[in-house]
Amino acid sequence: MKLSGGDLLLRALKEEGVKFIFGYPGGAALHIYDSIFKQKACDHILVRHEQGATHAADGYSRATGKPGVALVTSGPGATNAITGLATAYMDSIPLIVISGQVQSHLIGTDSFQETDMIGISRPIVKHSFIVQNTQDIPRIIQEAFHIATTGRPGPVVIDIPKDKTDPSKLYEYKKPKEVSLRSYQPRVSPHPGQIKKACKNILSAERPVIYAGGGVILGNAHKELMALNKLLKAPVTNTLMGLGVYPAKDRYFMGMLGMHGTYQANMAMHNADVIIAIGARFDDRITNTPSLFAPNARIIHIDVDPASISKIINADIPIVGQVKESLNALIKEIKRSKIKIDTEALESWNQQIAQWREKHGLDHELYLKKNKSQMILPQVVVQELYHATNGNAWVTSDVGQHQMFVAQYYHFNKPRRWVNSGGLGTMGFGLPAAMGVKLAFPKDEVVCVTGEGSIQMCIQELSTCLQYNLPIKIININNEALGMVRQWQDMNYGGRHSASTYSDSLPDFVKLAESYGHVGMKVTKKADLKKTLDKAFSMKDRLVFVDVYVDPDEHVYPMLVAPNGSMKDMWIKKNIKA
């Protein structure tokens, strides 16, 4: 049977296992939308803004490990998808964005709703395609999914001129049995010599640290990481993107590292003699000043992307390979090796870390303590949330102080449960991402922890949540200010709060939630926090927006001292350096 371009597209998506398309129609995409109407394999989720579509598809992908798909029209539809593409690109998320384009003969004429999507998305995609022949659509979709999901994953754009989906022009559905691209061979196996060298260094280390990032999650290698540390018993830290890949409850877990990492994790990194970096990229939010980074450490760096190795910090032992395969090779080599771990040295190293934790570690029992003020501390909101959800929720966040508080105080024990925009730091990510997660796991608890600043950047998606009955719980940590901006202004700009406050013009979030057909709750007193959260989570089939007013003066600590600081240089409390 011959099919139109739109039908070819939908069949190709079905064959890739696509369950949801997050999208927004418009002129150039209308033929495709007609094809969507005629099929049942993929559910279309109508968002309220294309940014929401990309973040929802991205959230779906982060939670499931499968590529998320967004569909937008040409021109403004395409440009609205840019922030979502950049977000996915920075965190290496397999995201497929299909954009309608004006008809081929109109390209380049400044026609209505025309924009050069391939051009404007070029620096923020792993690859992009423009459909020139309709019969290529199945092959292009197949290649796009292959590219998005293999090697270091990333977003792919497919731009389809409207005439290529003309319903009156029909073609055979044909695609190759498997993808073969002469310019793209992403499979790389770790070099056995490098594995041997790494093993030798690891086993003779006295102060080793495992520094694991989002790459371990993307590479589905959490079990291998656990197995490795069963052998090593080394302290482990996770990046913001890696949280959950190593269970927070494990005794060797030190918490997150970096800008707002724990005291013990940052101290351990600074004082380590061997750092085993796995699927992490020595981001500037981790290393602080690169020249002062971990002065006595040999760096072993495992990454599937050779360009991530020795980009910021020179790797003494680079290992280019899939994380899973590399860890398995390393485990095998360690088991085979005759070098004995210096257990005495390791024991005193773990004790040293325990002492650091004792001295300046995070207080995970803050919620139990009484303080004079009636104000709710934002950290306590996260702790209460953790208990209200038994630590089992999928948690998305936006960007700012609330994001850091979740990273510090919600203990993630499983990979993928923590969904946030780490690299790009995109406000407005949390709610649409939660929609993607909820669609993927409708029976599970999905929470969006946000702030009154971030939530207003994609608030329109409350309407989508009503249409598709997505009972997400939104915890709005409301400090009536752009908290992280204000924190920097407090610390570096003499407390001059330039354009970071708006307390006299905030919406009534309870009424706002209600006007979208949801439940709104407001908490201002400490005594009401727990019971309000319990009540919210007892409403299983409703979206509940919990607006929690918190102490507006609270800062996120620890915080690395910058500029010119190393990882051991931290603000521990207001005006107190460690």
């Binding site: 391939i118 051009g119 070029r122 620096p123 792993k126 690859h127 992009s128 423009i130 590219i147 270091r152 691209l181 002469r182 310019s183 793209y184 992307d305 050779p306 360009a307 020795s310 980009k311």
Partner: protein
Amino acid sequence: MKRIISILIENKPGALARVVGLFHQRGYNIETLNVGPVFDGTYSRMTVTTRGSENDVEQITKQINKIIDVIKVSDLTEGEHHEYEFIMVKFKHSEKIQKILKKLNGKIHEKHKHAIVMSAWGTSSDIEIAIKTIGKANLFEIVRSGSIGLHEGEKVLKI
């Protein structure tokens, strides 16, 4: 230090832009750029010259390698290599310019009352020196192909 980077890439629309864009995106400059289809025409060979430390160039080549359409990348300056550049010059009758270009395999293509058109080729450092010596006097215009090059010996950018 000057670097010559050789790239074998799919001859597809937009492929060139991906490479050129990457230089800007990652904060590097392109000094010269040469590109043309090779083999059966489905491939293009690019030569880019840039300046940077060894680390810079390692980063650039790694990043270029990540472009899906790129088949092979190599830093020619890493080892022994051949490198030449071709120029065309239009100038007012001038013995001096003719003499300079003759030394660089110069060839006269057109000669009439007002102007002479000549071509020449040589290593880019010879070309640089020639351009400096020619100066602005009597010169109408000049166009450069940008460096092209190959590894010495058996080393090739294989498909």
